[in-house]
Symmetry: C2
């Protein structure tokens, strides 16, 4: 099992987050990729108040950071690429296939995620605010358009580029999960099946279990 | 001069866009990188109504696409990496330096751009809407926080990772330019100087001139 206190690879994650964030915090992506790659890793857990020095590791005060003694980086897209370069099963070596997979990590993070996170913020963080109520219908329309674009591309393919799972799929599936508090994805049966195919992978199951286990161990005691 | 009708590399761009978008449409990033690399390219100009087949090239109906006969990809982050792999001056070969540069392209596109684009949309596309008026102060605060994070990291360094310009800087500078309709960046003198250093590069100047020249040639005739 890749979770190993003696591992060379260290990532950062939160010790605990509220329910709405459990199972979607971004260290999940990296845990999943490391499980797919069979690379041992350990986790440095951080509280909701990070020491100011953490900004020297992660200037945006987010998780995860990644450090294997050779490379010290943040941003899940870069980390997935780095892991992918060690495992052809996650990132093909052929130039066209390789850059198609890389392209999909950027597409997930820049062409899809911002629109889905916008709706998540409206529904979770700003639910009581007047602007959020006024904006929600337009934000839903925009999220549906993005889902349609991905659904139309995917068609009846198993993965984004055919029958081969890559870091591009891993990233896209974790991004699509940001809408789990809505029924929007259910409007696109091929996307629903695509997410389920990803979530059924043993590496995903292990990664999710390990993220959630840390939250359970560090759950704040009720006052 | 890299713009060359006989070039092997082809990118897509818009024939014309309204004033607010001129100089920030994303083909600028790729033109800039190709100029830095000294790689010839030609441009396939698209109208505001694309044929539906374009979605087979670019599932999100955006520009640019990139095709050099070897690799056919979209997403500017992936394209900059591909160009960078051909020019060590844009993407170092040392693993740590290489992945730091790659990391900054993701940071620009995922940790910074969505917040800045959100403000741009409020100010340009939704300016008359009630929700936009109510949301704007919070959107400004969030944009300022992102600028502070980048500014604090940059400090008095010339580029994000020191004295070496990379695709990470190229991406971050084009992202920061999305706020040019505001005076927010002026609140961070080191970011202002950083953007100016990027814009002063001859490759940027050529790329911008070539993007704008196409718009001038294809400006709609007033009715």
């Amino acid at each position: 099992m890749p979770l190993n206190d003696d591992a060379q690879i260290e990532i950062t994650a939160f010790a605990w987050v509220p329910d709405f964030a459990q199972g979607v915090v971004r260290d999940l992506r990296v845990r999943w990729a490391l499980e797919e790659a069979g690379l041992d890793y350990k986790v440095r857990l951080l509280g909701q108040q990070r020491p100011s020095e953490y900004l020297l590791e992660q200037p945006f005060d987010q998780v995860p950071c990644f450090n294997d003694g050779t490379v010290r980086i943040f941003e899940t897209g870069a980390i997935l690429q780095y892991i992918g370069e060690q495992r052809e099963s996650l990132l093909p070596r052929d130039p066209q296939q390789r850059f198609r997979a890389i392209q999909w990590t950027y597409a997930a993070l820049n062409s899809v995620e911002p629109t889905l996170i916008n709706l998540l913020l409206i529904d979770i963080f700003f639910a009581g605010e007047e602007w959020a109520k006024l904006r929600r219908p337009g934000a839903v329309d925009f999220a549906n358009l993005k889902l349609k674009r991905v659904s139309d591309w995917l068609g009846d393919k198993q993965w984004l580029e055919g029958d081969r799972f890559t870091i591009g799929d891993l990233m896209m599936i974790t991004v699509l999960r940001f809408l789990r508090h809505t029924d929007l994805v259910a409007g696109f049966p091929n996307l629903t099946a695509y997410i389920q195919r990803g979530e059924a992978r043993p590496a995903f199951q292990q990664a999710l279990a390990d993220q959630l286990a840390a939250y359970r161990e560090n759950e704040p005691v009720a006052a």
